[in-house]
Structures are given as C-alpha cells and as structure tokens.
C-alpha cells in the first residue's frame, strides 16, 4: 500500500513537474515566436543545428551597433579640436574611438547621452560589444577622392589628426569641417562599405558563410543568418522601424520621440534595437518629405531576407533561395546607394545656395562669417557623402572621377584658393581655383550627374528645381496654333 501510495505520489509529483516543464518549454518557444512580430527585425529562433546552448534568439548585431555609436561619438569629439593642447588629447581620444575594442567597458557613449527626455539603456560602448572597432572595418582601397593616395582608414586617421589640432574641428583657412567630413566619410567607408561590399556581397555567395554551418565555431547563429544581421546593423534602423512613420524614425534619431523609440515599453531606449542611426536617419529625412520610401524599402527587404534565411532552418540555402536573397540585396543596396546619392545632391544644392550668400555678403559687407560657417559645414557634408558613395560595391569610376574633379579636394575659398593636394609633411597644398560662378556651375553639374546616374526622387535643394517649376507654370506649347 505504502509503496503504491509512494508510487502514486511520486507519479503525481512527476506529472506536475513534467507539466510545468512542458508548459515552460512551450511558453519559451511561444515567447520567441510571439516576440517575433511579422514586421520587426527579430527575435528569430535558433536554427544552427550544432548549437547546444540555451540561447533562444539567433539575432546578433551588437558589434554593428557599437560601431554606430563609435561613429556618433567620433563626430562629437571631432568638434573638440584644440590647437593649443600640446598633449594632443583631442586626437588621442578620437583615435581611441577609431581603434579601441571596448572589452573593459571604459569608452563612454558620447551620443546619444541619456537625458530625462530621452533616457537610454547603455552608457558604455562595451555594453553593446567589446569586440568592435571602426578602423578594422574601414575600406582598405586607395581613395582617389582624397589627396595623398591613402587607404580608407588612413584618410580617417589623417582627418582625425587635423581635427585634433583645429579649433572646433573647423579649419577656416583651408575650408575643412572635420566633424562633417569624418562623420559622413566613416558612414561610407565603414558602415555602407561593410554592408554592401562585404556582408551582402561576398558573404551572400553560396560558398561563403553557408547556412548549414555556424558563423564561427560554437556560434548560435548560422553563417548566413549572422552575415545578414551584421548588414542590418550597419543600416542603422531600429528593429521596429516598420511600425514607425518616417517622421517618427527621424525624431527618434533626433532624440525627440521617446514614445516611438521605446518599443518594449521599459521606459528607456535600448541603443541595440530601438535607436535610428546614420544611414537610416538620412533615409527617414528624405522619406518624411513624402516622395520616397527608402527606409521602409530597405528595412522590409532586410526583414524578408532574414525570414527566408530563418525558414531554411539551418540547412544550406538552395539556388532558388539564394536568388531570392540576391533580389533583397539588390533592393537594399540600390536604395542605400540612392540615399547617399540624395545626400550628395542635397548638399551640392546647399553649397550652391551658400555661395550665393557669400557673394551677397561680399556685396553688402556683412554676414560673411555666418555664410562661411554654413558653406564649410555643407561642403564637408557634400564631400563626406561623395566619398561615402565611392565606398560601395559598384565602382562607377567615370561618375566618381567627374564628381571629384568638380568639387575638388577642398572648397573654393572666397579668395579663390583651393586645396589641390598634400605635401610630404601632411600639409595642404593650395592653388588658385576657378571663379565662384564656375564653382556654382560645378555644383549644378554635380546635381545633374547625381540625377542622371541614380534614381533620385527626393532631390532636396534642387538648384534648378525652381526654374523647372516656373517652366511648368508657363506650360509647354504642344498644339499647332497661330497667334
């Protein structure tokens, strides 16, 4: 009897424990699935068959988010240049954000910093990843868009060195706005380059990082899963971007909309999944004008591609699946390229307008400082984005050469001098440039070039847009009629 009673009690207990365990397992699985809302990037279940650990989510792009924050921080620091500091502290600090992998969690995030209006979860770069730096991922090709025949990483180092010795990071003698140059070029040379010229390029070929093997030994994600995630991280969109309007994504990047950013409603913005960065921010800035849909085109292609890889369930991707992936890659990288080209177009228009203001300041004798400040900022953005465009997989050398020739290595200064090279000491060599009129013409031609070579729709600051509108207003004569 006792034995029977014992057996009955034990069975009851075992049944209870079993039921609880089963329920827990089910709820765990359900929570992963429930967590995976259709149009949110992740979480996605583990499909890597060799993985024996406890992780439930195969999504991983902490290193890319760390690089987004290193980029943000570098931009902030570039404006802290001080020519009077003999210790070269500004330069050293910037180099730390370029080169250091923050294993010890000692590098503070400079932007975004937590505030009462926009509290953020992480404070140190290492909280996102302790194994990511910028310099290791920069474009290694020789950059013809910058003087000195330097590789991408050397260009950034050169700019950092100059920025550190320049008050506020803006060299008014040579016309270099380093915060803008460093930021925009890094966006291209690291973020765009890594995504479209590496992870979505070589690593999406059948033999590279196959889906039936872990990305690296012991990893809980497959080769293709992680390659895809890394590229998504470089894009810089919040995981729940598809649930936001372009204006909301833009405001999240500007730290103005906590409600839109805080998707999991924990009261803080997770810089890993809830923030909008760099390229995604620029995409949102064009999309909010209503003519384009870059942000959602790219983000939805990333989500669809990831779903397809996840659905392969850890098996090698078939040719059909790889072809579909290539379709998504095409959407992602062509839209991404267009976003950068839109920026080149926009800032060429800004520079054109600024030159008009400089001419006006010349005539009136007032407002030159303000006009020059805007001019150098916009030229830095123009040059940085133009260089970024050249960091992609598509080498449109003819377009790039024309663009580089027209904007030059430096802006045309009011005394008509312009940087034409770098000497052996790393100092700029200058020469007499063209007239302001000619330089304005170059800006027009850059806009024309961008419009003809890329599928631009936003066309912000179109220098001839007003003229086209006037012609439209007059209306073209299409009928045969006498007067």
């Amino acid at each position: 009897m006792n034995n029977t009673k014992f057996k009955g009690t034990t069975l009851a207990k075992l049944s209870f424990v079993g039921a609880v365990t089963f329920s827990f397992m089910c709820s765990s699985i359900t929570s992963v699935n429930a967590g995976h809302h259709g149009n949110v990037y992740g979480p996605y279940p583990i499909t890597e068959k060799s993985y024996k650990g406890t992780k439930k989510n195969s999504v991983s792009y902490g290193g890319q988010m760390a690089r987004q924050l290193l980029h943000n921080s570098l931009k902030k620091l570039a404006s802290k240049g001080n020519p009077k500091d003999p210790t070269l502290a500004p330069e050293k600090k910037m180099l730390a954000y370029l080169n250091t992998k923050d294993k010890s969690k000692s590098l503070p995030i400079m932007d975004p910093k937590s505030s009462s209006k926009f509290p953020v979860k992480q404070k140190m770069i290492g909280e996102l990843s302790g194994g990511a730096n910028l310099s290791g991922k920069a474009d290694k090709r020789i950059q013809t868009s910058w003087p000195g025949n330097m590789s991408g990483v050397d260009v950034i180092k050169f700019m950092i060195k100059k920025a550190g010795k320049t008050k506020g990071g803006v060299d008014t003698r040579n016309g270099m706005n380093y915060p803008q140059l460093i930021s925009k070029y890094t966006m291209g040379a690291v973020l765009y380059h890594q995504a479209c010229d590496n992870y979505l390029d070589e690593k999406m070929t059948p033999s590279s990082k196959p889906n039936n093997k872990p990305y690296k030994k012991g990893a809980h994600y497959t080769g293709k899963e992680h390659s895809w995630d890394e590229a998504f991280g470089y894009w810089g969109a919040a995981a729940h971007t598809m649930k936001l309007s372009a204006v909301q994504s833009y405001d999240v990047a500007k730290k103005k909309d906590l409600k839109a950013a805080d998707y999991n409603k924990d009261g803080v913005v997770d810089l890993q999944t809830e923030m909008t960065y760099a390229h995604a921010y620029y995409a949102s800035s064009y999309d909010k004008k209503g003519k384009t849909n870059y942000l959602k085109n790219v983000t939805s292609a990333f989500i669809d591609g990831r779903k397809l890889i996840t659905a392969a369930d850890g098996n090698k991707l078939s040719k059909t699946e790889l072809d579909k992936i290539q379709g998504y890659v095409q959407i992602i990288c062509s839209n991404w390229e267009d976003v950068i080209a839109e920026s080149v177009f926009k800032y060429a228009g800004s520079v054109y307008k600024d030159l008009g203001k400089i001419e006006k300041a010349f005539d009136s004798g007032t407002g030159m400082d303000k006009a020059m400040s805007a001019y150098l900022k916009h030229w830095g953005e123009l040059k940085g984005f133009a260089m970024a465009l050249q960091a992609g997989p598509d080498n449109k050398s003819d377009t790039f050469n024309r663009m580089n020739r027209m904007m030059g290595f430096g802006p045309l200064m009011p005394n008509l001098s312009q940087v034409i090279g770098i000497d052996s000491s790393g100092d700029y060599i200058k020469d007499q440039g063209s007239s302001i009129g000619y330089y304005k013409l170059h800006m027009l031609k850059i806009q024309k070039l961008m419009a003809s070579k890329y599928a631009l729709k936003a066309k912000v600051n179109d220098a001839t847009g007003g003229m086209a509108a006037l012609l439209e207003e007059v209306g073209s004569k299409k009928s045969a009629e006498n007067d």
Binding site: K353, G356, K357, E359, K360, D363, S435, G437, Y438, K440, L441, L444, K445, K448, A463, T464, G465, G466, M467, A468, L470, L471, E473, V474, G475, S476, K477, K478, S479, A480, E481, N482, D483
Partner: protein, 336 residues
C-alpha cells in the same frame, strides 16, 4: 487607351485651361465684348447682334469646317512630334549653366520674397519678350518664301473664328513649339539666374497676369468677323482685333502688315503697322481667286510641300544655274 486618354486631355485642355487662348472663360468674355461693342457702339439691335455674333455663314462655312478638322487632327500629329523636339527645360539648363561661366550678367543677390515689383517686372518682361519673339517669328513666316508656303495654310481661311488659330500646318506648329521653348528657356533661366531661386510669376487662374488680361479683353476676336477697333493712338501700342483682321485681308496694301500679337509696338517700330478704319470691308484669304481645294484637308497638309518643291525647282533649274533666274517671283506673298 493611353493615347486616347492623352488626346482627350489635350483636346479638353484647350477649353478648360486659362493658359489657353480658347479657354471657355475667354470665349465668353469675347462674346460679352462683341455684344457690348455691337449694341452700344454700333447701335445694333440685340437680335441682330446675336445673329451677327453667331453667324452660321461664318461658323459653318467650308473654311471654318476645315479649321475644326485641322484642330482635331493636328493634336494627334503634335502628340507624336512634341516629344522629339528640344524642351524648354533643356534650353533653360544650357543657358543657366552658360550664365555661370560669364561675368557680364551677375546675380543681384537680393531678397525677392517681399518685393512685389520683381515678380511683376519678371511677369511683364516675360510677356513682352514672348510677344516680341512671336512678332519676329510671324514676320519671318511671311517674308521667307519657304516659311510663307507653310504659313499660307493659316492665311487660306476665308472666314475667321476663334478656332482659326488651329488652322495651322503641323510644321508651323513645330516652329512655334521651338520658338516657345527658346523664349521660355532663355527668359526664365536668365531671370532665375539674376534674381535667384525665389522668383515667381504673377498669375491669375494660373495664367500669366498680362496674358490673362490680353485674352480676357477679347484676344479671340482677332480671329472673328467682329471688327472691333481701337483709337488710333491705342492701335499703335496694342493690336486691335480689327488690325489682325487687316493682316488676314486679301488687299495688297494690307499684305505684310500687323504681325504683332498683343503689342502693336513692334509693328510701329519696324514699320509694319496698319491702323484700322471703321466700316472698312475686309475680305479674308490669300487671293480673291478661289482655289479649288483651298479647304480640302489633304491639300492643306500637302500644299506647303508642293510650294517648297516649286521654290527648290526654281533654284536648281538650268536657267538659274546659267544665272538667269526663272520668272517665278517670290514677292512678299506668293498667291495661289
């Protein structure tokens, strides 16, 4: 279906777009003006006036019927030809870019937003320059033999109605499209360069302010049988409907007169002005001798080619080679 849709759109645009001469509003204003002119100035009775304005002999004449058919057919032809022609935007870009490379004309760098005078000056300048290029083109259509052969189609009208403006050979339509593109492209790009991106037109219902007034005050009566004339002093500045009707007259003394569209200033300046006279009878056409096929649609389309071919023959004839030109005179208006 796209072509049909485009055709209907272009067709209806003529009557519903205030930028167009035969916009219904302008046709209505032309009726009101002619009604007031005939009843008040000419002291005619209302019934008589209505009958005169809507004279069946005019609107249903063979000449007018040919106008209507040409109107409908030319839309199709121009639909296919227009895309092949240089656009005003392309010209504007070329001029705008050129202006950056010269140093004579420089941007004024002034704020234009709060100055009504600059948009008004721009709108008026465009209107005047557009009118001037129309005068020049029109004069050339009469004085260059090959062009006259093309322009004859328009002058072959025996009755004038507002739709006679469409009695135009498609080649002439192409010439006008090119003239319009060059004028718009050059004028607008130059002003845009000098005054900056904020410059705007002053418009009413989307039409240029001055064009609007020109059309509202009876531009459609130019091609009509209502002989509305102005005071002589005014006819030296603005072309009256009666002056344009003189331009269509078969009388020799009226040939090559009044080329102007809105402004008579050009005719005054270049010696082609002819003032109207009250109650002067004017017969329209090219010659008093009626041509058998003058309202035949096919003939209207091919006759310019025949005329040009004859000119060509005259130049390459053996007589001409030997220095003896054939006795085919290219007087100011070769007749049928």
């Amino acid at each position: 279906m796209d072509i049909l849709h485009q055709y209907i759109e272009t067709l209806s645009e003529n009557f519903f777009d205030p930028k167009k001469r035969v916009f219904l509003g302008y046709l209505l204003s032309a009726f009101v003006i002619s009604f007031l002119w005939l009843t008040i100035v000419k002291k005619e009775k209302i019934k008589q006036t209505i009958n005169k304005i809507f004279d069946k002999k005019v609107f249903m004449s063979k000449s007018s019927q040919a106008d209507y058919i040409l109107f409908l057919l030319n839309i199709i032809i121009l639909m296919f030809l227009s895309p092949l022609l240089i656009s005003q935007l392309a010209i504007a870009h070329i001029v705008f870019e050129y202006l950056h490379s010269q140093t004579i004309l420089m941007p004024l760098n002034i704020e234009t937003n709060n100055l009504w005078i600059i948009p008004t000056f721009f709108t008026l300048s465009y209107f005047i320059l557009d009118d001037f290029t129309k005068y020049i083109t029109h004069a050339l259509m009469h004085k260059v033999p090959v062009l006259w052969e093309i322009h004859k189609t328009h002058h072959s009208a025996r009755t004038l109605t507002p739709l006679t403006i469409f009695r135009t050979h498609p080649i002439e339509g192409v010439i006008f499209v090119i003239r319009s593109a060059f004028t718009q492209g050059i004028v607008i790009s130059t002003f845009y360069y000098v005054y900056g991106g904020n410059i705007t037109f002053v418009t009413i219902l989307g039409a240029n302010l001055f064009s609007f007034w020109f059309h509202l005050f009876g531009s459609n009566l130019r091609h009509s049988h209502i002989k509305l004339n102005y005071w002589n002093w005014l006819e030296k500045i603005l072309i009256s409907p009666a002056q344009h009707q003189i331009h269509h007259s078969i009388k020799k003394e009226h040939h090559n007169k009044n080329f102007g569209v809105a402004l008579a200033l050009w005719d005054t300046l270049f010696g082609s002005l002819h003032l109207s006279k009250s109650n002067e009878y004017i017969e329209f056409g090219i010659s008093n001798k009626k041509h058998k096929y003058e309202n035949n649609i096919i003939y209207l389309y091919i006759s310019p080619f025949i005329g040009i071919y004859k000119i060509f023959l005259n130049y390459v004839s053996p007589h001409n080679i030997n220095g003896k030109k054939q006795n085919l005179k290219f007087n100011k208006q070769t007749r049928y």
